[in-house]
């Protein structure tokens, strides 16, 4: 059954993109480690974690697209799941520091010593173990998504109202994580990491490995999403997106369909966050900023929502553009981003990928998901 689903998931395009990502996951680290700096194909040291970060953003956009592009749930709080995965990883990295902190406390991280903690808060237990932390990277976002989705979808909160409460969710977490007595380092967050699984986190080989891990995780996430959207459940999700109440009258439990998509999406976002933190070296409450979550929506819209490849391209391209642009005119990035969003909404409503495939197959129409109407969902027609 699984092999059957995998086979179905691997349509030509997905297979190529997954392969391409895997090639990049191997090629970039190798070109960094083994090519001499004089070689034009050499990847400089600073670029490895930078590109690795883009891969985690691409994964985050892919996660959002699963719920927004396919299931019609416009989450404006997906940054929260990313940040929670990041914090779980950050907690492990903090405990890995051990007695090498400024205060040399073998158990307590520096910020706790500084804030006069006498003992480790109970929820920090277990995070000295990588695999426990890895489990939490998955479980914590999943649990939050499940609890949130359970209530929201059951009470049939949809559309703008749902978007607003997802935004409120991430904002509430932002405020909570800002507080020093939450035990997550407050404003400063978690940083000064030393090593991961015993390897120096700054070392070139570690960064290369993290990049490769990000690429592999992205390719796997793509396969999982592809498996879902190409199954009958994927058709049900699109049905929910396009005509929710009609789907109910066919006997589907819409709330369960949404809950499934939302939880899977949160898990993918959490894993992306966990890969992001060791590559950027810090996690702090700003990751919960509502504006971050809105940026994810823009990456997805730019790349093409309702296509699995689109958000990956959008996540990488927009953030690559951001790196270049902010190096050049740092104060104007938000204007550029806003302008980009307006441009895409007006002129490329299907995003880059949707527009290109649209041109490609305009002669022989295929059931590619219509990803138009970014800002104006079809009125529900089930009277």
């Amino acid at each position: 059954m699984i092999t059957q689903m995998l086979f179905r998931a691997l349509d030509r395009k997905t297979a190529w993109v997954a392969l391409l990502i895997l090639i990049a996951a191997a090629a970039v680290p190798l070109a960094n480690l083994y090519l001499p700096a004089s070689n034009p194909l050499h990847v400089p040291d600073y670029a490895v974690p930078l590109f690795g970060k883009y891969l985690t953003y691409a994964m985050l956009a892919l996660a959002l697209d699963l719920v927004w592009g396919y299931c019609g749930i416009l989450s404006l709080g997906h940054g929260a799941f990313f940040a929670l995965g990041g914090y779980a990883m950050g907690m492990y990295l903090m405990r890995e520091i051990g007695p090498r902190g400024v205060y040399a406390n073998p158990i307590l991280p520096d910020f706790m010593v500084f804030l006069n903690y006498k003992a480790l808060p109970w929820y920090w237990n277990g995070f000295d173990n990588f695999w426990f932390a890895a489990l939490m990277v998955v479980l914590v976002p999943a649990a939050l998504a499940f609890a949130f989705g359970w209530f929201a979808f059951r009470s049939r909160v949809t559309g703008v109202y749902l978007s607003i409460i997802t935004q409120a969710l991430t904002y509430a977490l932002l405020l909570a994580f800002f507080r020093n007595d939450m035990g997550f380092g407050g404003n400063n967050g978690l940083t000064d990491f030393k090593d991961i699984l015993g390897a120096n986190i700054q070392a070139g080989t570690t960064r290369a490995a993290l990049f490769a891990a990000s690429g592999i995780a992205l390719a796997l996430a793509l396969l999982v999403c592809s498996m879902i959207v190409n199954s009958k459940l994927g058709k049900v999700m699109v049905a929910v997106r396009d005509a929710e109440s009609r789907t109910r009258f066919l006997g589907y439990r819409v709330e369960n369909v949404k809950l499934f998509a939302f939880v899977v999406s949160a898990v993918i976002a959490g894993i992306a966050g966990a890969l992001y933190v060791p590559q950027v070296g810090i996690i702090n409450p700003s990751e919960f900023e509502p504006a971050n979550s809105i940026e994810i929506v823009i990456w997805t819209a730019v790349g093409g929502r309702g296509t699995l490849i689109g958000p990956i391209i959008g996540g990488i391209l927009v953030n690559f553009g951001k790196s270049i642009f902010t190096g050049w005119l740092p104060d104007y990035w938000l204007f550029a981003l806003g302008g980009l969003f307006v441009f895409v909404t007006l002129f490329l409503p299907k995003g880059i990928v949707g527009t290109v495939t649209g041109l490609w197959v305009s002669t022989r129409r295929r059931p590619v998901v219509a990803a138009a109407e970014v800002l104006q969902p079809e009125p529900e027609a089930a009277e």
Binding site: K235, V236, R248, F249, A370, A382, E383
Partner: protein, 252 residues
């Protein structure tokens, strides 16, 4: 006769159903019975409450008052849309509602009677029997040639047929069909009547329609609704000869 006895052996049993919207009484003490393998045609002026009645049966609207029973024993007023659909009640909407961004084939796959759960849908793989059934339905509703087209590209009449096909795919015990021939040509209308009569040999159907020649073709029992309750019942001849029906519906 006790109420329980009355319900016994019915497919659909509405008794004294009332519902108001902002003080406006859309249904007023409405009572209707449909037997197994029986077709009932419902006529009546716009705003009579015909669609609202279907909303109540399918769980979209809750009645303020009255009983709604399916199959003689299941109280529909306690269940939600998905549960009611899974009991075996299928509905075609007044405004044809198909999944526009999906193909005709996929619309039928979605409707096909199969386990509706998340994980069952995730691992679903069309069996040979499923494919054959869909091909059969496509032939019945004459859409074989369009099976790979998006539902959005169909004409209004074809969407109606696709939705009837989806009803067939659901394999329900009771079909609620709201204005099925709106937007159809005369010959399509005649075909639809034939198809519904064929279906009614084994299932119960409630058809709402304004088109009198279509209702005549159905040749079923007729109920005329007005202002949320039954105005007249009987054969089409009896109902259309009823002076109240003439005054409040046909005569307009």
């Amino acid at each position: 006769m006790s109420e329980a006895r009355e319900k016994l052996g019915t497919m659909l049993y509405l008794n004294g159903v009332s519902v108001s919207f902002d003080g406006f009484r859309a249904l007023n003490n409405l009572s209707i019975i449909v037997h197994p393998a029986e077709m009932l045609a419902i006529i009546g002026p716009n705003g009579a409450g015909k669609t609202t009645m279907m909303d109540i049966i399918t769980g979209k609207t809750r009645p303020d008052d009255g009983d709604v029973y399916f199959d003689g024993r299941t109280d529909l007023t306690k269940l939600d849309e998905a549960k009611i659909a899974n009991l075996g009640i299928g509905r075609k909407f007044q405004k044809p509602t198909v999944f526009e961004s999906q193909t005709v084939w996929d619309n039928l796959v979605l409707a096909l009677k199969k386990p509706r759960g998340v994980f069952a849908s995730l691992s679903y793989h069309a069996s040979g029997a499923d494919t054959a059934r869909i091909e059969e339905i496509l032939a019945t509703v004459r859409m074989t040639a369009r099976k790979h087209d998006l539902a959005a590209d169909l004409s209004h009449g074809q969407k109606q047929w696709l939705e009837i096909g989806m009803l067939l795919a659901q394999d329900p015990k009771l079909l609620l069909v709201d204005e099925p021939v709106a937007g159809m040509t005369d010959s399509e209308t005649v075909e639809t009547a034939k198809l519904l009569k064929e279906i009614a040999k084994t299932r119960s159907i409630v058809v709402v329609e304004h088109d009198m020649s279509f209702v005549r073709d159905l040749g079923s029992r007729v109920t005329c609704l007005a202002e949320g309750s039954v105005l007249a019942e009987g054969t089409l001849e009896q109902v259309s000869a009823n002076p109240m029906v003439i005054e409040r519906y046909l005569g307009r």
